[in-house]
Amino acid sequence: MSAQSTAPYEPVFTGEMRRRLDVVLARYPTKRAALLPALWMVQEARGWISDAAMTEVAEVLGLTPAYVKGVVTFYTMYHQHPVGKHFIQVCTTTPCNLCGAEEVVRAFLKHTGCRELGATSPDGKYTVIEVECLGACGFATPVMIGDDFIESVTADKVPELLRKYP
């Protein structure tokens, strides 16, 4: 279940955001094609994509909320729950695994205070997940923190790295 708020829903696509969406819509022959960009805009504005936001996107693009949810759940980068202030993704697929990625994961869990993968730290600052191939295998281990893509992370560099993300 997605976390739900009792506060009234504030639409995302008003003013400047609506204008940005119109620019995106002009690039495609169908409104549906703007769905992935629209979902990115929601996530950028709100940090995650709630059921209410999916309903808004559906209305704006002439789709059903169920259809939008079907797309959201297909793509792993769309958050269906709130996540920590810093969302940390550590690549552990084979090439990185060969170079010690699992130690990097353990170091992130230890130094963020996250109890387990996918859980947010008690202070709300960090969420750590393992991710499949980030496409930077020669720079093992690549880690994404929010939108920052960091190469060649080793377990011993983790504490220093985290200091940049307070």
Binding site: R27, Y28, P29, T30, R32, A33, A34, L35, L36, P37, L39, W40, L61, G70, V71, F74, Y75, T76, M77, Y78, Q89, T92, T93, T94, P95, N97, L98, C99, E102, V131, E132, C133, L134, G135, A136, C137, G138, F139, A140, M144, D147, D148, F149
Partner: protein, 434 residues
């Protein structure tokens, strides 16, 4: 060049010549390096002439399938009755592969120029560059370059002052390996779940939005301006072993080598020399155990096979594997093949779109059985079960994701059976399988 290392004298630098040069990213810097000369030349030719040159060059798709690029372009309708589209596949996600990312982050205008030439050749109205969502740097770099290209009149309603219209947009993925499959990529552009489509119809007949579409990989498109500038004969002459494999290829080398990174060599270059000479060989005191030459979806080679494999489409086929995307994953004698193959299977189980039963169930069960073996709870008959499952997962589904899961499992059991048996007999203890 051997980015992030200094270029090696045995490399043939064409695509990677400007990797690492910050200035090459900008429009001015690119023009200074001979940028957009090829596009101007191409816009002065007929689309048919361009397609003929690309056919002549022998260029084949660098995304994995190796289909002849000029031939693919020639499948597009000559008489244009409805919109045509070009999709650039920049959804680089094949484990072991990280070449397109370097092209986009260092030479974004090379990609734009290649796309523009292809777009004109297939008479496409729009190019969509589909970049995977995680490539934040590439997304920003290519977007900035696109903005520059529009501002400088390279793109837009009057491309390079020729009166021809060229429009190009980025479409950002959102985390799905399968969207690198061309029909899944088209669905993703259309705002759908990234499920692959049954072929036929092929994209040239009914692709994105049901219109004639061509899909090419980043590296393929980035090679096109060089072919236009220097001619098909020059490109065709870049071939060390088999005339059907021409040009240069970027190999992304990762895993247990001293100097991982991207290396650009002429087709037919020996894998042995790539590993021992360009990449500096194995780490101290270690020896080569195995190598996957074309991204995680191709069969694993043992040491002997790796040391005698030539890096082109035919050379890899001769060893029972594929050139694929050129993502070279190197395992030294410290690698636990059972664990690493389980980790690959887990990747495919995670990335299966779940449309086809053989893939959805097969990738998950292969992973579970391998985890059982790693936990010391396997039986000898599990190996036959894995081979049987792999057989059922090969050639039976809409796309080749499940075949890709089966490839390392089958080749792994065939070539490293003793490692699996050691876990089953208890000779080797569980290494903490996740």
């Amino acid at each position: 060049m051997g980015y992030p290392h200094r270029p090696h004298p045995r490399e043939t630098v064409v695509l990677s010549q400007h990797f690492g040069e910050a200035e090459a990213r900008s429009y001015q810097g690119w023009v200074k390096r001979g940028g957009y000369v090829a596009l101007r030349k191409a816009l002065g030719m007929s689309p048919a002439e361009i397609i003929e040159i690309v056919k002549e060059s022998g260029l084949r798709g660098r995304g994995g399938a190796g289909f002849p690029t000029g031939l693919k372009w020639s499948f597009m309708p000559k008489e244009k009755t409805k919109p045509h589209y070009l999709c650039c596949n920049a959804d680089e996600s094949e484990p072991g592969t990280f070449k397109d990312r370097e092209i986009m982050r260092w030479t974004p205008h090379a990609l734009i120029e290649g796309c523009a030439i292809a777009q004109y050749a297939i008479q496409a109205d729009i190019t969509y560059i589909y970049i995977r969502g995680e490539f934040t740097e590439a997304l920003a770099t290519v977007q900035h370059a696109l903005d520059e290209a529009y501002r400088e009149g390279i793109l837009g309603p009057n491309a390079m002052g020729t009166g021809k219209r060229l429009d190009m947009y980025i479409h950002r993925g959102a985390g799905a390996y399968i969207c690198g499959e061309e029909t899944a990529l088209m669905n993703s552009i259309e705002g759908r779940r990234g499920n692959p489509r049954i072929k036929p119809p092929f994209p040239a007949a009914a692709g994105v939005f049901g219109m004639p579409t061509t899909i090419n990989n980043v590296e393929t498109l980035a090679a096109v301006p060089h072919i236009i500038n220097r001619g098909a004969a020059w490109y065709r002459s870049l071939s060390l072993a088999n005339p059907k494999s021409t040009g240069t290829k970027l190999f992304s080398v990762c895993g247990h080598v001293r100097r991982p990174g991207n290396y650009e060599v002429t087709m037919g270059f020996p894998l042995r020399d790539l590993l021992y000479d360009l990449c500096g060989g194995m780490r101290d005191g270690r020896t080569l155990k195995a190598c996957i030459p074309g991204g995680s979806s191709v069969p694993i080679l043992n040491r002997e096979e790796s040391e005698s494999c030539l890096l082109d489409y035919e050379g890899c086929a001769e060893k029972g594997t594929m050139l694929g995307s050129g993502g070279v994953i190197v395992f030294d004698d410290s690698a636990d093949m059972v664990y690493q193959i389980m980790r690959l299977a887990r990747f495919y189980a995670h990335e299966s779109c779940a449309q086809c039963t053989q893939c959805r169930e097969g990738t998950a069960w292969v992973t579970k059985i391998l985890q059982r073996i790693l936990a010391g709870e396997g039986q000898m008959k599990d190996l036959d079960l894995l081979l049987d499952l792999s057989e059922q997962m090969t050639g039976k589904t809409i796309c080749v994701l499940s075949d890709s899961c089966a490839a390392p499992v089958v080749s792994g059991i065939r070539k490293f059976r003793h490692e699996f048996e050691a876990y089953i007999t208890g000779a080797r203890r569980a290494a903490g399988a996740a």
